[in-house]
């Protein structure tokens, strides 16, 4: 199931000692280099820092990479940053795959470097396999009607309606009762300054 045109770059991150303290990152880099479709494997102390990102961009140009695997942390942390990074080098941001060898490996396989390194290898192998099937994606553009519906005319609905209207948007404020005001209008005084509610 390989795609012959695929040229993957794998970037293994030490994350200081967060990953390299447990995983043999050099062995991982060497392993990654041999995976199908991988044409470059580079190790870095902090891939997310500027020099690390620049190295990714340089490698994309030098090796004519068309897929990037970053073996570092959870995509929830830095996926956006690495997507922007590869986009800066002319790649579609959806051609990035992250291999989470920190939260899912080095941090939870403590005290057992060999097992952690083996797990990291499998994680990178799986990520590279997925990367082969990534294709460029275009985000669809849709039109927006410049008007807002605010449901509920209590203090929150009133404030939201006023802010939106003051920003220049047409607002429809719907309140089920005959008057707006909600519970706030029934209060005599409000804290902390003990002032009138209405």
């Amino acid at each position: 199931m390989t795609n012959p045109e695929v040229r993957i770059g794998v970037f293994v991150c030490d994350c200081g000692s967060n990953i390299a303290g447990t995983v043999d990152t050099e062995a991982l880099r060497a392993y990654a280099e041999e995976l199908p479709g991988v044409v470059a494997a580079i190790r870095n102390k902090y891939t997310c820092a500027d020099p690390g990102q620049q190295e990714i961009q340089t490698a994309i140009r030098e090796h004519n990479l068309n897929r990037v695997v970053v073996a570092s942390c959870s995509p929830t942390t830095y996926e956006v940053i690495f997507r922007n990074c590869i986009a800066g080098a002319g790649l579609n941001p959806y051609l990035l795959e992250m291999a989470n060898i920190r939260e899912h490996c080095s941090w939870v396989t403590t005290g057992n470097g060999k097992a952690a390194t083996e797990k990291a290898k499998r994680i990178v192998k799986v990520a590279a396999a997925r990367a082969r099937w990534l294709i460029p994606q275009e985000e669809e553009q849709i039109s927006v009607t410049d008007a807002a519906l605010v449901i509920g005319g209590g203090v929150a609905g009133i404030q939201a309606a006023l802010d939106l209207a003051d920003s220049g948007h047409q607002v429809y404020l719907v309140e089920q009762n005959p008057s707006i005001g909600g519970i706030m209008a029934q209060l005599d005084k409000v804290y902390p300054d003990i002032e009138c509610s209405i």
Binding site: T145, I158, S167, Y172
Partner: protein, 650 residues
């Protein structure tokens, strides 16, 4: 409030209800019913001549029933819009022959009983849901005597009693005999912070401590003779200026006693109230007597939110308030793009917090509305019209109604409404739906890579992006070590996991397959993970039929916060894995490669509420119950969610 009525950019639709919302981000279509007021609000001068002649007297909801109003009325003096209305259900007859006194009294002729409800159709790009909260009804708490004694009132009723616009016009008196209440007691946490569902809700209602503190200080400033005593569980004065107000109140002589009263008794002669309370600071049993007791009632989700919630596909937190897209980073967004939440609909709040959150919601909505065009994540479903058999089943499982389908037509995805959960792709038996960025091929390639060498060492783990994958991250952040044999395939939702992926993994030699996702209440795609359970039910049946131990397929729910639960799940999976021998893996591969994969026997709608047997695949516990698709199954012994549903044959 007045600004709203005057603002040229705001169309105020009071006495109106949203009947339907369709469409998607940037392009919602809304149907609104504007109820007939029977008074022309553009002509009414609020003179009040009509009210004097109206013969119908009923309790005034603005005064929480402590005052009365007529069937034709102005809700309150500062009402916006400032116009009278007739409540048609209370009016003695819209036929002027039956009554019609108000029509005669109105010189301007504003009253018109031929008025009908109006239906408006509008188009908007964003929706802000601010349907608020209701207050807890303390009737159920018999011991506080709210329904038996006149001089026990709620905090909102007390607001009306002290208000110059209230029924007593600001002359403080107690409801029973209008006597001036010199000794006033406040009871906190009424309907809040209890584990007993008969007595309220488990959450803190946020505003009640400060509201009481404010009231005691106001009483001290206005009526120096009043002695206020507050009975509390904990005093929560955490906001800006709050602690200072509490200190002022204490310095003013307000007594704060930690402990909630037992049963309250009223003296039949005087109407005074007395009770015993355990003061947990001094460890003494105390007796107290008051002229008036105020119950600081908490908040409950507003009854009117539910219909709106269903219209725009929002989810609820366990408390019943609406769920935000992310508790820290997207607190006013919702899982439905283009829909925002503001105020107490999200959780109980005071005025300042409501205002802050409403400004945040307006700002978030503004970001969207300021754009002519809006880009959506490219993780959406795509239908291959050539493979589509036009069955329409995908449209039925889509939680966001993002698939359009008409009989005889191929399904069509409304990309802007699609959130990319992938449950349609997993449901389609004809491979006619592909998810962009989470394609079948990529997932099969991941399974292959995991099982290529030493498959017996690899637990094939599907984890949803939002909860279980994040739960595994949380385990990492907490350095919660666990066995290293699980390999994760991240999908946006567990609903993306097609039964074919599971069969494929077992065919390739997986010892154990784990499908994990959000708890039912946390599902980021409303209820897409109910489809996951339904498919796993089918797979368990199918595996058994094929001669494979169904226990090798595990289903677990784990929230983003449950790092230790993820660790526990990993340990359970590892126990399963080591118990599966090489011979068993070989046999499974043979069985599944030789035979045609058995078709799933999914639960159907007729199984709903039917008696069933449940069996835990982790610890072996079994029990009888009732099948309910909406109920998360959990083993009462080992807390696993790998609980099989077995139909009881009649």
């Amino acid at each position: 409030m007045m600004d709203v009525g005057r603002h040229p950019k705001i169309k105020l639709l009071a006495y109106s209800e949203v009947e339907d919302i369709s469409g998607y981000v940037g392009n919602f279509k809304v149907r609104i019913r504007k109820k007939a007021r029977y008074v022309d609000e553009t002509q009414c001068t609020s003179c009040g001549d009509c009210v004097e002649v109206c013969p119908v007297v009923i309790p005034d909801e603005y005064q929480v029933g402590l005052g009365s109003r007529r069937a034709i009325y102005l809700p309150f003096p500062q009402a916006v819009p400032s116009a009278y209305l007739v409540n048609a259900e209370e009016c003695m007859g819209q036929n002027p022959i039956a009554c019609g006194k108000c029509i005669e009294a109105c010189e301007k002729g504003c009253i018109d009983f031929t008025m009908r409800d109006e239906i408006l159709q509008i188009e908007v790009g964003a929706v802000v849901v601010a349907t608020g909260m209701d207050l807890y009804d303390p009737t159920a708490l018999d011991e506080y005597g709210y329904s038996s004694y006149d001089n026990v009132v709620t905090s909102l009723e007390f607001e009306r009693l002290i208000c110059s616009g209230g029924p007593l016009e600001g002359h403080l008196g107690r409801p029973g005999d209008l006597k001036f209440p010199r000794r006033i007691g406040f009871i906190q946490c009424v309907g809040s912070r209890t584990q007993d569902p008969e007595r309220g809700n488990p959450y803190c209602s946020n505003f009640c401590c400060m509201n009481t503190i404010k009231t005691t200080q106001y009483l001290h400033d206005t009526y120096p003779d009043v002695e206020s005593t507050v009975f509390y569980t904990d005093l929560r004065a955490f906001g800006k200026g709050f602690e200072e107000l509490l200190m002022r109140s204490r310095a003013s002589g307000v007594r704060y006693i930690r402990g909630l009263p037992g049963e309250i008794h009223a003296d039949p002669e005087s109407g005074d109230l007395h009770f015993m309370v355990e003061n947990t600071t001094s460890n003494r049993l105390e007796s107290h007597e008051f002229d008036l007791l105020v119950l600081a009632v908490g908040a409950v989700p507003s009854r009117s939110t539910e219909t709106i919630r269903q219209m725009v596909s929002l989810s609820k937190s366990p408390s019943g308030f609406l769920r935000e897209a992310h508790p820290k980073l997207r607190p006013v967004d919702t899982p439905t793009k283009g829909v925002f939440i503001a105020g107490s609909v999200e959780s109980p709040k005071d005025v300042r917090e409501c205002v802050t959150q409403a400004s945040a919601a307006a700002s978030r909505a503004s970001i969207l509305l300021n754009k002519d065009r809006f880009s959506v994540d490219a993780i959406t479903a795509v239908v291959d019209a050539d493979l589509c058999t036009k069955c329409g089943i995908c449209a039925g499982v889509c939680p966001f109604s993002a698939i359009q389908w008409a009989k005889g037509e191929p399904a069509k995805v409304i990309t802007a409404a699609c959130t990319g959960c992938g449950t349609c792709a997993a449901e389609c038996k004809f491979n006619a739906i592909q998810m962009r960025h989470f394609s079948d091929q990529a997932i099969y390639a991941q399974i292959d890579a995991m099982l290529e060498e030493n498959p017996g060492e690899s637990i094939v783990t599907f984890a949803c992006n939002w909860c279980s994958y994040a739960g595994a991250d949380t385990a990492g952040l907490g350095r919660m070590a666990y066995p290293p044999h699980a390999n994760i395939i991240r999908t946006m939702c567990s609903g993306r996991v097609s039964p074919e992926f599971v069969w494929y993994a077992f065919r390739k030699g997986a010892p154990v397959v784990l499908v994990s996702g959000c708890h039912y209440v946390d599902c980021h795609y409303i209820d897409a993970n109910r489809s996951t359970t339904r498919r796993i039910d089918g797979l368990w049946d199918g595996l058994e039929k094929a001669g494979v131990d169904p226990g090798r397929l595990m289903l677990e729910w784990c929230s983003a916060a449950e790092g230790s639960r993820w660790q526990h799940i990993m340990e359970q999976c590892e126990e399963k894995r080591v118990a599966v021998s090489e011979a068993e893996i070989k046999e499974t591969r043979q069985l599944l490669n030789e035979k045609k994969t058995p078709g799933p026997r999914n639960p159907r709608s007729r199984d709903e509420h039917q008696p069933a047997e449940f069996r835990c695949l982790v610890c072996g516990e079994s029990w009888d119950g009732v099948y309910q698709a909406s109920q998360e199954r959990i083993c009462p012994v080992c807390r696993s969610n790998s609980v099989r549903w077995i139909r009881v044959k009649n």
